[in-house]
C-alpha cells in the first residue's frame, strides 16, 4: 500500500506583532506579562480568518496541481467563523474542488487537527486535512501574547507519499485545563503549574509511549518530535520520559510565530517536513482532553516535494505591525469610531450568493470556446467586441492566474477597516481582467505592470446580521519561490 502524506503546506499571515508592543500597552496593568515579551506573533489582517488561512495553506500544499483526486476535506479549528455552516465547505468551494466530495469540520479541542489527520489515515481515499486558528483573546491575557494566527494543510492519500504512517494512538480524558462555552467569548484557564504536572505530562506520555510501542520502536528512534505547548520545557519533559533525544524536540516557533492553537501540530509537522530526510521518523503529538500521537517515516519522495512557501517561506514573508491598537481593532477588541460611511447595508442575499458561487467563491469565470477570451465573471454573451458569441463560455479559473496592474489607487475615502483601500485594474497575462482590491503590500509599491496573484479573503463583514462574505483579492506575486 502506498498510502501516506502526499503534500503539505502552511499559511502564516504576513503581519507580525512584536510582543514588546503588547507589553508596553498592558504591563501597567499586569507587570507579570513582562516575562513574555520576547519575539513576535503572527497576526491576521482584518480580512483574514481561519477559513481564508485554511484556503491559503491548502493552496500552499496543492500548488495549483490537479485536485480532482480529493474525495474529502477535514477542517479542524476551535475558532471557526461559522457555528452552523460547513466551514470546510467554504474551503472546498474556494479551492474549486469537485462538489461530489465529503467534508467535515472538527473542533472543540486543541487536538482536533491531529484527530483529523488520524481520521484521514483510517480511510482509503484522498483527504485534504486543513487546520487554522485565530484565537479571540482578552487584552492583557497571557494567551494573547503566546498565541499566533496560522494554518497548515496535509494531503493524505494513495500515491507516492513523502511520509508514511507507522503508528498512531490516542487517549481521552475530561481534563479541563481551559474551556470556552456557548456563553463565554473567551477561554477560561486554570494555572499553568497544575496543567503541566497533572495534565500535560501525565496524559500525553502514555499515549506517546503506546504509539512508539505499536510501531515496535523506542523514543531513541524518533528523529523529530513535534509537540506544541507554551508550557516551559513541556515538550522536553515528555521527550525525556519516553527516551526521545533532546535535540529531536522541535522548536515550537514561539519566538517567531506564536502558538497557532489547533493548527499548531500541523504547522510544526509542515515545518519539519521541509527539512526532513528520507528515513527520518517524525512523531507529532497534541494535547487536549487527552492526547493524539502519530508517528511517520519520511520516504525518498520527500526530495521531490516542496510547498509554495511552507512555514519558513511564510515566516520570511514578514511585515512588522507594531501597532497593538490595530491588532485589537482587527479583532473587534476595541470599539473604533468607524464613521457613517461604514454603515452601509452589507446584507448578503443568500440566493444571489448561491447562484453566483463560481464567481464569488471559486474565482471561476468563463473562457469563450469561439474566440478563446477568458472573462470574469462569465456571461452569456462574450465580452470580446469582435466575437460576442452567445452561450459559448466554459468554466475558467482565475485563482491561479497571474495578473498585472493596469491602473491603481490608494483610496482614503472608501470605507476600509484599514485605509487606504488599495485597488485597481488587474489584467491577467493569459487574458481577462477585473478591478480588484490589492492587499498585503505597501501603497508606495503600487505600480503599473506589477505582477499580482490571487488570494481568498474576507470581502465584507455584516455586523448587523453577523455574516461575513468572501472574495478574491490581488497581492504581489513576487514572493513566489522561483520554479514553484
Amino acid at each position: 500500500m502506498n498510502f501516506g502524506i502526499l503534500a503539505y503546506g502552511a499559511y502564516l499571515p504576513r503581519r507580525r506583532l512584536p510582543r514588546r508592543s503588547m507589553i508596553e500597552a498592558n504591563a501597567w496593568f499586569d507587570s507579570s506579562l513582562r516575562g513574555l515579551g520576547k519575539g513576535e506573533r503572527t497576526m491576521c489582517g482584518w480580512d483574514e480568518d481561519p477559513i481564508t488561512m485554511a484556503v491559503d495553506a491548502a493552496r500552499d500544499a496543492l500548488k495549483g496541481s490537479d485536485a480532482s483526486a480529493i474525495k474529502s476535506v477535514l477542517f479542524a479549528s476551535t475558532t471557526f467563523p461559522f457555528l452552523d455552516r460547513l466551514n470546510s465547505g467554504v474551503v472546498a468551494a474556494a479551492l474549486n474542488l469537485s462538489e461530489d466530495i465529503a467534508a467535515a469540520d472538527l473542533g472543540a479541542c486543541q487536538r482536533a487537527a491531529t484527530s483529523a489527520l488520524a481520521q484521514a489515515f483510517n480511510g482509503t481515499g484522498t483527504t485534504l486535512v486543513v487546520s487554522a486558528e485565530q484565537r479571540k483573546t482578552k487584552a492583557a491575557s497571557p494567551l494573547e501574547l503566546t498565541s499566533g494566527d496560522g494554518a497548515a494543510a496535509i494531503l493524505v492519500g494513495e500515491g507516492n507519499p513523502i511520509a508514511k504512517l507507522l503508528a498512531k494512538s490516542s487517549g481521552t480524558q475530561d481534563f479541563v485545563d481551559h474551556y470556552r462555552t456557548i456563553e463565554s467569548e473567551y477561554d477560561y484557564r486554570w494555572e499553568d503549574r497544575w496543567v503541566r504536572d497533572e495534565g500535560f505530562l501525565k496524559l500525553i506520555t502514555p499515549v506517546v509511549a503506546r504509539c512508539l510501542k505499536s510501531a515496535g520502536l523506542t523514543g531513541a528512534d524518533v528523529t523529530h518530535f513535534c509537540l506544541p505547548t507554551t508550557l516551559a520545557k513541556g515538550a522536553d519533559a515528555i521527550a525525556k520520559k519516553v527516551g526521545i533525544a533532546p535535540e529531536a524536540v522541535r522548536d515550537n516557533l514561539q519566538l517567531v510565530c506564536g502558538d497557532t492553537g489547533t493548527a499548531h501540530p500541523l504547522v510544526m509537522l509542515a515545518d519539519v517536513l521541509a527539512v526532513a530526510k528520507p528515513g527520518d521518523r517524525i512523531l507529532v503529538a497534541a494535547f487536549g482532553q487527552g492526547a493524539d500521537a502519530l508517528l511517520f517515516e519520511v520516504t525518498e519522495a520527500i526530495k521531490d516535494f516542496a510547498p509554495v512557501r511552507g512555514v519558513q517561506g511564510h515566516l520570511a514573508r514578514r511585515k512588522e505591525e507594531p501597532n497593538y491598537i490595530k491588532f485589537l481593532a482587527f479583532r473587534d477588541g476595541i470599539d473604533l469610531e468607524r464613521g457613517i460611511r461604514s454603515e452601509q447595508d452589507k446584507q448578503t442575499p443568500l440566493a444571489m450568493m448561491w447562484r453566483n458561487r463560481a464567481a464569488y467563491t471559486s474565482m471561476v469565470g468563463g473562457k469563450c470556446t469561439k474566440c478563446g477570451t477568458p472573462q470574469y465573471p462569465s456571461s452569456r454573451i462574450c465580452v470580446n467586441p469582435e466575437c460576442t458569441a452567445v452561450d459559448s463560455q466554459e468554466p475558467y479559473s482565475f485563482a491561479d492566474k497571474i495578473g498585472r496592474i493596469n491602473s491603481y489607487t490608494a483610496d482614503l475615502l472608501a470605507y476600509s477597516p484599514e485605509p487606504p483601500s488599495c485597488y485597481g485594474m488587474i489584467e491577467f497575462k493569459e487574458g481577462g481582467r477585473w478591478m480588484m482590491d490589492m492587499i498585503d503590500m505597501e501603497p508606495a509599491d503600487l505600480a503599473v505592470g506589477l505582477e499580482m496573484r490571487m488570494v481568498f479573503r474576507i470581502r465584507d463583514t455584516d455586523p448587523q446580521r453577523g455574516f461575513r462574505r468572501y472574495h478574491w483579492k490581488a497581492t504581489p506575486a513576487a514572493d513566489i519561490k522561483k520554479g514553484a
Partner: protein
Amino acid sequence: MAKGIKDKVAILGMGCTRFGERFDMEAQDLMVEAYLEAMTDAGIEAKQIDAAWLATGSPEFHLGNSALALTSTLRLPYIPTTRVENFCASGTEAFRGAVYAVASGAADIAIALGVEKCKDAGFGGLPPVGRPMNSKFIWPSVSAPGSFAQLATAYTSKFGTDPKDLKRAMAHISVKSHDNGSRNPKAHLRTKLTIDAVLNAPMIADPLGLFDCCGVSDGAACAIVTTPEIARSLGKKDLVSVKALQLAGSNGSEAQFNAWDGSYFGTTKAAAKRAYAEAGITDPRKELDLIEVHDCFSITELVTMEDLFISAEGTAVKDILDGFYDADGTIPCQIDGGLKCFGHPVGASGIRMIYENYLQILGRAGDRQRQDNPRIGLGHNVGGYPHQGICAISIVGAYEG
C-alpha cells in the same frame, strides 16, 4: 447615420437653483425654485406643458421612486411624467427625453427637471447605494475618487508624463474652476484657491487630493423645450437650439476585456464623435466656444480634453497649463465653476451645464459672461466609473433658422 436632432428643438426657458448645502430645503422646494425661474423665462403657464421628465441619481435619499414627485410638486395636471436615472448623466438624460418628445411631435412643450439632495447623507461625497447588488460581491472597496484616480496612474504610465507635471496641470484645473466659481452667485464654492493649496491638500485617493475632487450639493435645474416655430410664436427672438444629444454606454469591455489602457473614456470618444457629426462640427478645437465637462475630479477634466478631441492625445497637460481652457482662454471650460465649484447635485448637473451654455449664448451670464459672443456650447457628463460607465453629450447653440 440618422439625421439627428439638430435645430429641431429650441429652449424656451431655463432655471437653476443656487447649489450648495441647502439644509433648509426639501428636494421639492429646490424643484420649485428651479421651475419658477424656468417658467418665468419661458413665459408660459403650467397648463401649456405637455410632458415632463425628472432626473434623480439617488431618489431613495429624497423623492423616492417614480416621477410622481415631479407632477405633484409642480402641480402639473395629469400629464405624462417619467423619471430617468443614468448615474451622473441623469440630467442630460431627462433633457434628452423632453427634447425627443418635442422632436417627435408627441409634445409641443416639454419640461425636464433634475434635482438632488445630497447633503442629507450625513457625510461628504456621494450617498451610498442601498441594498447590496451583485457587483458588491466581486468589486473592490471602490469610491468615486478612487475609481477616477486610476486615470492618472494609467495616463502617466501611457504617456510617460511626469506625475508632478500631471499634478500641476490638475491643480491648474481646480484653481481655474474656483476662480470661475467665485464670479458665480449660484455656485456652491466661491472661494479662490492657490496652486500651492491644491498641491498641499490632504490626499483623498492617490493622486487626487481634496481640491482635485468636486463635492456634492443640493440643487435643481430645469429646462423647458419646444420647437423653434412655437418658440417664435410665443414671442422669443434669440433662440438657443439643440444641436446634438448623444449618449454612449460601455459594452463592458473596459471592465472585462484587455484592450483599454485605463487612461481615457471610450464612451466619451464615441459620444463626442457622434455629437459632432450630429451638430455638423468638423473641428471641435476651432468650432466650440464653450465647454462644460464632467469635472467630478480634476483628472477627469484633463483626460476629457483629449477624449473630446480638443487637445491631441498626450497634450492636455500642456494646453491646460497654457491657459487654453481658462475663462479668458481659447475655449473656456467650466466658466461657471463646473461640478467642482458650481456644485454637483447629481440629477441636476447635466441640465445645469445646458443652463450655463444657454445663458452664455444669450449674453445673460452676468459677471462671468464671456465677451466674444459665444455661439455654441458643449455639455458633457460621465456617469458611473471610467471602467464601467456612460457618457452623455449635449451641444446647444444659437439658432440660425
